[in-house]
Amino acid sequence: MSAPMGNGGASGALDGDAESADGTAAGVAPGTDVPGAARGTGFSETMLGTLRLDGDRRPRRVRLDLDVVADRVLRVLGTTAARATGRIRIEDWADDRGAEGELEISPLARRRIRYRIRFTAGGRRLLLDGWKSVTPLRPVASMTTLPYTLYEDGARMGTGTLRFPLTTQLVPFLSSFRFPRRARPGALLEPRWKGEAGRTEVWYTTVTDPRTGTGLWLHHELVAPADGSAPYAHGWVALFPADGPVRHARFGPGRWPGERTGFRSDAVTVRPGRLTGSAEDGALAWELTERPLDGPLFTFPRWSWRRPLLPAAQILPAARASYDGTVTVDGTTLSLSGAPGASARIYGHGNARRWAWLHADLGDGDVLEVVAAVSMRPGLRRLPPLVFLRLRRGGRTWPRRPERTAVGWAGAGRFRADVGLPGWSVTGRAGLRRIRVEVHQPAERTLALEYTDPDGSRATCRNSERADAHVLLERWWFGGWRTEAEWRLDGTAHAEVGTR
């Protein structure tokens, strides 16, 4: 990887170029073409009621629990289409946890909140179709009463009414509302560079083949030199076999063709879901498909990616991904099938003065991403490394805000890094948890490469896709620290240390 912080501090100090770049990028289409700007809506709703099947005099009790997701923020004055999943329980008849359907939420424009929920009961595929008919004369009753009809293959089976129980469900309902950012597929892979001089942009992918233990590193880089000369694209591929020396090859530099969906230079491409290319006249060639397994992970604050105020920022379009395909090295083909790894993106002014990076797939869907870097900017270069640590565990990311680990509370309580080789470590505490990350990069499993910044200065990185790591997560509990989780990665951690 290339270091995400260069030519300045990570303290948020504004740089003249950065400000104008931000103005251009955000000013053209705020919140639309900027990845991750648009928000969706999510909420949960529970309704209780009855169903009377045709030909059956007995009303049956019904409970419907729905998780509703919309691709946009709920429009109060307009209409919002949403998807719903959940569980329906019908007394003595059905209990389907796989109920799914759609909602048309239009309380004012159409005065209607319509539910179309499909579910299975007794082996029969049924449709519940009904709507709340909102009227200003009886706002509460009309917003909480859902008369519906039940259909099987378009033929009516029964009718009923569901009601939203205000007394018990209003607070859970209101507190369930979320407005998550909506990820447009592939949006985070699109180039950020808009023609400014003195920028570097990176697409890099690291993979571990679980079958052979081989590590793979694909690095694609666009450099727009600070002197205003033509931008160029280049990169390299490196293979870290379990039983042999590291093999790497460079490609480029080549012309930057102005690709819109990802990276392309001659035969090397990065597109959503696909990575292809070759180097050294085909001595190393790869053809991979990428399947995201998680949402984006913003190692640096999200705002720093949307508005490039920091000298550089790094993100992961998907915190975890799986890779299939082939990598050919000097006539030998390595086949990957469901190999874990991740792609990441960097955009900024250049590399940091000193940095360390770790991507650790902890298993069971958990992942740890760490970047610790020292700024190039005069004055700030004397500060200790700023640490950005993101632990995604059980779908939640800790600490909640990336700034917390980097700057703490005005410097107090920030996470600390001890950067060196062959071992380096990061420690920190946030809330009732503390973490210790120790990384070991044995020299024989490490590749040293030289980076060139847009301003022509150079840095050396030492990268290993077969590093070891030890992660200890502890939680404070009535007077003492108790181990909450501990992971040991033996040759499957992806790490790098950069120096000048």
Partner: protein
């Protein structure tokens, strides 16, 4: 109750016959079907009469002797200003008296009612609160039925929403006419257009709409009317109307009425016309096998009249349409935020215990020319300045002739013969008899005089005439329609012309005297007397009624003047078709059932083929 005294006075109940004693009860049950203001007005009038009697004699009307009542009433009848009010009181009393008198004389005729073709009817209380369809048709009359059939045959899931109930032929045969009258007509037939002069405008309310209670007369739209619709108004759907008229005629099995059951009323009209050399012929009707029950206006008890619930709606149901009955549409649901502008989304129907809603991307409005504008207004679709205007009604009046021999007009075809001699002048005469008391002709006199007329009604032949009028009315209101109609001076002349022509025809047929319906001179014995009378009379003195409201959501090419576009689509919203009499750009000049059916069919077809 005070009705007893009023009835006893008006029909001179002297105890010599049983039937007058039963009239108050019959009247009570009829009043129950009237709208509240009409009911209150009747009761107030009865109380006022009683109060007058108490003031004059110290006793109520019921306590007076027949002679005292007679002299009291005669005193009132001498005041010209009170005569029109007393006439209004007489109408329901005559309805009830005619029914009781008829039952006394002949009982309820037993007729064999055939089973009706099947309909898929569901009353509102049994309909789910939420349902969907491809098209909702509001109203099941001539227009709604044709639109429903066209759409259903095109494969759409159609729901027809009807405010009235479904009545079977068997139910018609089992009950006396007046009971059916109260149920089949909106407001008990007491719909009134306010204006100068006020006129009565009865419309039907049942599955089948007004076709259940019309006379079955089926005129094709005249060529010159069609040409005007097409070229002057730009109503494109009228261009191919011939094909749709053929289809409607075929569906309704329209044919000239055979002479065998025509009845003496019609025969006298034919005789008179022949002697005058006028063009006249038995009408073309949709009643094959008509038995001459003379009850068209309260539902044919023999099933001969092919009202749309016996002809068109069964075909629609066979194609999958469903009929929701006893359901009044509160409003058309409109999705205001659709891309491209507002769009109809279905209808909301009011009912006890919570309304029901049907979602459909197409709403066909066919609630009739009087009820379509209020429905659109309360749905927020009534912003077009000409919506509700352009109301033509075919104002009509009737005249009776007394003959030496019994005519017994209520045996035979109700509307039997058309006299088209003056049609070019906008006057269409139709020999129309009704069950006693139900016609628009109000017998003259009060007390004993009225009683004599009632008992001698079998020697009366009645003719009716309607005129092609200028659009002089408008429908106001959002809930109940409020009608305003001011007769155009040109049409006053046409009405006078119509009365004179009918008098001339009756005298030519051999009438001893003609009952003019004009209070100041209710009887004339010669054409010269009639001419003298008419030269000083005005239309205000006639008893006017109207049966054919049209044109309130006129279709046409001019967006400023036509609320509906040339294909019958309501302007300002997508997904709303107008397919009833309101879409006709101007008065059709003939009985409009076929015109409405053809226009509705054309509008629906244009939508399907779009």
């Amino acid at each position: 109750m005070s009705l007893t005294g009023m009835v006893a006075a008006l029909v001179a109940d002297d105890g010599t016959a049983d039937w007058p004693a039963r009239v108050p009860a019959r009247l009570e049950s009829f009043l129950a079907s009237l709208p509240r203001p009409a009911r209150a007005g009747m009761r107030a009038a009865a109380r006022a009469l009683d109060a007058y009697a108490v003031a004059r004699t110290g006793r109520t009307l019921a306590a007076l002797s027949p002679g005292e009542r007679e002299s009291l009433l005669a005193g009132l009848g001498r005041r010209p200003g009170l005569v029109p009010l007393l006439d209004v009181l007489k109408v329901p009393v005559l309805l009830a008296s005619g029914t009781e008198h008829m039952l006394e004389r002949q009982g309820l005729p037993r007729v064999a009612a055939p089973p009706d073709p099947p309909l898929d009817c569901t009353p509102a209380h049994a309909w789910p609160a939420r349902s969907t369809a491809d098209a909702v048709v509001v109203g099941s009359g001539a227009g709604g039925a044709m639109a429903a059939r066209t759409l259903a045959r095109a494969g759409l899931r159609v729901v027809v929403v009807e405010e009235g109930r479904h009545h079977s032929t068997r139910s018609f045969a089992a009950r006396p006419p007046l009971e059916r009258f109260a149920e089949l007509y909106r407001d008990g037939g007491a719909t009134v257009a306010l204006g100068d002069p006020p006129l009565l405008l009865p419309v039907g309310r049942a599955v089948g709409g007004t076709t259940v209670v019309n006379s079955g007369t089926c005129y094709r739209t005249p060529d010159h009317v069609r040409t005007r619709w097409s070229s002057e108004f730009g109503f494109v759907a009228a261009d191919g109307l011939d094909e749709h008229l053929d289809d409607a005629e075929h569906t309704l099995r329209v044919a000239s009425q055979p002479l065998d059951v025509l009845g003496d009323n019609g025969r006298l009209a034919l005789d008179g016309s022949r002697r005058l050399g006028w063009r006249a012929a038995p009408l073309r009707r949709n009643a094959p096998g008509c038995k001459g029950s003379c009850q068209c206006v309260v539902g044919c008890p023999t099933g001969a009249k092919q009202s749309v619930q016996l002809s068109v709606l069964p075909a629609a149901c066979a194609a999958g349409a469903r009929i929701l009955t006893e359901a009044r549409v509160d409003r058309i649901l409109v999705d205001a935020d659709r891309p491209g502008g507002p769009r109809a989304a279905g209808v909301r129907v009011g009912r006890a215990g919570g309304g029901l809603e049907i979602l459909a991307p197409l709403v066909v409005v066919a609630a009739g020319a009087l009820h379509t504008p209020p429905l659109l207004r309360r749905s927020g679709l009534g912003r077009h300045p000409y919506l509700g205007r352009n109301l033509s009604v075919h104002p009509a009046t009737s005249v009776a002739g007394r003959f030496a021999e019994p005519v017994t007009a209520w045996r035979g075809v109700l509307q039997s013969v058309g006299v088209e001699e003056h049609h070019h002048a906008g006057v269409l005469i139709e020999a129309t008899a009704t069950p006693p008391g139900m016609g628009s002709f109000v017998l003259p006199g009060l007390g004993r005089e009225l009683r004599r007329e009632l008992e001698g009604a079998d020697r009366l032949a009645t003719l009716g005439a309607m005129i092609a009028d200028l659009p002089s009315g408008r429908v106001l209101g959002r809930g109940r329609p409020l009608l305003r109609y001011d007769l155009h001076p040109r049409d006053t002349g046409r009405l006078m012309h119509a009365v004179r022509s009918m008098g001339e025809l009756l005298f030519a047929a051999g009438a001893e005297e003609v009952l003019t319906g004009i209070a100041s001179r209710p009887r004339v014995r010669s054409l010269a007397e009639l001419d003298t009378l008419l030269s000083g009379a005005s239309a205000r003195q006639l008893h006017l009624s109207a049966y054919h409201p049209t044109g309130t959501v006129a279709a046409g090419g001019d967006p400023q003047r036509s609320p509906a576009d040339p294909l019958g689509r309501l302007r300002g919203v997508r997904g709303v078709l107008v397919a009833d009499a309101s879409v006709l750009p101007s008065c059709p000049e003939v009985n409009p059932q076929l015109s409405i059916m053809a226009a509705a069919s054309a509008v629906a077809r244009a939508h399907v083929e779009r």
